[in-house]
């Protein structure tokens, strides 16, 4: 069943046009040559029918001709294991934890897909099993020594064709975000980027929640008639699961017939300079637009030093060139989940808060009592950071016996 929107042209007049244009947030309507039409911007959301002038646009339910897929043929919640120079990326383990939760709702098994050389796979497979997966599907060949998007895609395609999992989850890393869409397009299936929440319906439909419109709105997305359902999730959105006594099975997949050619040669890999990684920090002092100059960040540095933490910033401060993008918290930066975060002069757009609301203790200082940041905080202080922070620094120094 799909809804179809129909415009009743006899109700079209200047007044109804103005009213309906205001209702549509997508520019989905245009008035040309005396006719009101839908444009390519229309999202079929039905707001014009529900909230527009009465009778102008009506919603009719159209019998859906698309054949329904048999969802029972698709079983298992699977995780693509991402490996890099430090081993298995921890986001893969976080996803295994979530996969177990999702699978328990529908009583499906949990799978991991491990691709690599024999040496590397042998090193990683036992640890993957220790997080409680039912089966690790292993693709092993010297051609898989390093990540290659074309060769690895052939493996995941083979896995999906043979095993038919209902869900495949990928880490929202640069690698995962570049790799997963190829698989999605190959199977013409849904892939929801940067999910901040995942749930499972009893009919095996995956509930995917992600911020939309720059993070001011949350969208709940489903993929009701395509399998597998796929999502990417950023590092540190979900907690690290506990290890268990391994019970899973290793399944070695036949790779002889898989295409191992590639149009891509990696000619150089340079390890980025190890910087203080804000996603690993236990204490973060986060700074927002209330800071008037770059030099003023010094007081945040001082507070961070006293509390054994690091300074991070919001996107506007990175754009102003005050701090490198590596220190940016938020959906377009890093996700963090420290034990303590103190937000200084941050208004709290979801673009930022989605990147830090997993923190254990959130304290925020902002001079606007209705700032959204307080809605994700445990403690809120309404006040001017220029008054509170220097005072706080003095108090902490005093308490520590420093002068």
């Amino acid at each position: 069943m799909a809804k179809k929107l129909i415009i009743n042209q006899e109700k079209v007049n200047q007044e109804t046009i103005d009213a309906v244009m205001k209702v549509c947030p997508f520019g989905g309507l245009e008035y040309v040559d005396g006719k009101l039409n839908f444009t390519a911007g229309c999202k079929n959301c039905g707001l014009c029918a529900k909230k527009g002038p009465a009778g102008l646009v009506t919603e009719v339910i159209e019998q859906d001709q698309t054949p329904k897929i048999d969802k029972s043929l698709w079983r298992g919640v699977s995780v693509f294991i991402e490996t890099d120079l430090d081993g298995v990326h921890p986001v893969s383990y976080e996803l295994i934890g979530k996969a177990k939760e999702l699978a328990s709702v529908i009583k499906h098994p949990v799978y991991a897909i491990l691709i690599g050389s024999k040496i590397k796979n042998d090193q990683y497979v036992d640890e993957i099993l220790a997080y409680g997966v039912d089966k690790v599907y292993i693709y092993e060949d010297s051609a898989y020594q390093e990540f290659n998007i074309e060769r690895y895609a052939k493996c995941v395609e083979d896995f999906i064709n043979k095993i038919k999992p209902t869900v495949v989850l990928y880490g929202g890393t640069p690698l995962g975000r570049s790799f997963a869409p190829r698989i999605a397009a190959h199977f013409r299936t849904g892939l929801t980027a940067d999910c901040t929440r995942l749930g499972m319906k009893e009919n095996t439909d995956l509930i995917q929640v992600r911020p939309a419109f720059g993070g001011n709105v949350m969208a709940q997305i489903v993929c009701p008639n395509n399998r597998p359902q796929m999502s990417t999730v950023r590092y540190k959105i979900f907690p690290m699961p506990q290890k268990v006594t391994p019970f899973g099975e290793k399944v070695y997949m036949d790779v002889t017939d898989l295409d191992k050619s590639s149009n891509i040669d990696t000619i150089e890999v340079k390890v980025k300079e190890k910087i203080q990684d804000i996603s690993e920090a236990e204490v973060i002092i986060a700074c927002g637009r209330a800071f008037k100059t770059k030099e003023d960040l010094q007081m945040a540095e001082e507070l961070a030093n006293l509390l054994g933490g690091v300074v991070a910033v919001t996107r506007p401060l990175v754009e102003a060139g005050w701090k490198d993008a590596k220190y940016q918290i938020g959906l377009s930066g890093r996700t963090v989940a420290p034990k303590l975060i103190i937000n200084l002069g941050i208004s709290g757009a979801v673009q930022f808060t989605a990147g830090m609301n997993g923190s254990e203790l959130i304290i925020s200082i902002n001079d606007n009592p209705s700032a959204a940041i307080f809605d994700v905080s445990h403690y809120g202080i309404v006040g001017d950071i220029y008054k509170i922070v220097p005072n706080l620094i003095a108090c902490i120094k005093n308490a520590k016996g420093l002068k």
Partner: protein, 262 residues
């Protein structure tokens, strides 16, 4: 060489709020602009053109006002533009958008290099580029910071990954998505704009694309559905600390002491 650059018109402001009672989106103004990342894609293409003989074609999908961003690309120095626009393409998710764009790109003729911005500022998925590449059966590299070398057979690009900076040599044709790098996009040339004033941008509709299966486009071709939109959840378990600055700081210090940070 033939270069295709994909561009998109996006809202100038992402200041959208949702009415908690009616669930209606309230968008602040109707101003639009070119997706900022696409400007870096265009600049990358224009710099390649300065070094090699190249024709740059820009393509966009959207309602007819989206012609504005294509016009801007021509003013910047691109050679041809094409708009893909049809009610049948409306309501498309990533899969349907990427597929429609891949069909549009096929209408442009031979291509050697396709350039996309790394993501749009309205959708923020960063998935469309890679999906176009899959539909066209060509390799892709995402998050490219710099194009180092361009020949008739291959390009060499540098991309930023999680912990590494990697250099790839990729056979053409291929697709790259461009991250904000160290280049500054040029401004549209008013003089060029004057010269081009009469050029009309052709539109490709459903009737023009090669694949005539309607279930591959728009809402029908979109596997994902937005079930609902809602305002971000609020933490109701919060304590607001009031009082003078000194009182506020004293309470805060006490909290930090209790948690053993002080």
């Amino acid at each position: 060489m033939n270069i295709v650059v994909c561009v998109k018109q996006v809202p100038a402001s992402s200041d959208v709020k949702i009415d908690p009672v009616t669930g209606v989106l309230i968008r602040d103004g109707n101003n639009t602009k070119m997706n900022p990342y696409d400007l870096y894609g265009l600049e990358t293409a224009l710099r390649i053109k300065e070094q090699n003989s190249a024709i740059i074609k820009t393509i966009s999908m959207g309602p007819t006002p989206a012609k504005a961003v294509l016009e801007e690309s021509l003013w910047m120095g691109c050679d041809e533009s094409l708009l893909i626009s049809d009610r049948k393409f409306g309501g498309a998710d990533v899969v349907a958008t990427a597929y429609t764009l891949s069909q549009g790109i096929r209408k442009l003729g031979d291509f050697d290099l396709i350039i996309c911005g790394k993501q749009t500022t309205d959708g923020d998925t960063a998935q469309v580029g890679a999906e176009i590449a899959e539909y066209l059966q060509i390799p892709h590299i995402a998050y490219v910071e710099k194009v180092l070398e361009v020949t008739d057979e291959y390009i060499v690009v540098r991309a930023s990954m999680d912990k590494t900076i990697e250099t790839f040599k990729v056979k053409l044709p291929c697709l790259i998505t461009i991250d904000k790098g160290h280049i500054t996009p040029r401004l549209p040339s008013y003089k060029r704009g004057k010269e081009l004033n009469h050029i009309d941008i052709p539109i490709v509709t459903f009737a023009d694309v090669i694949d005539q299966d309607e279930t591959h486009y728009g809402l029908k071709g979109s596997p994902t559905q937005v079930e609902k939109m809602f305002p971000p959840t609020k933490n109701t378990d919060k304590t607001i600390i009031n009082g003078s600055v000194q009182e506020q700081v004293d309470i805060l210090t006490e909290i930090l002491k209790n948690k053993k940070y002080v």
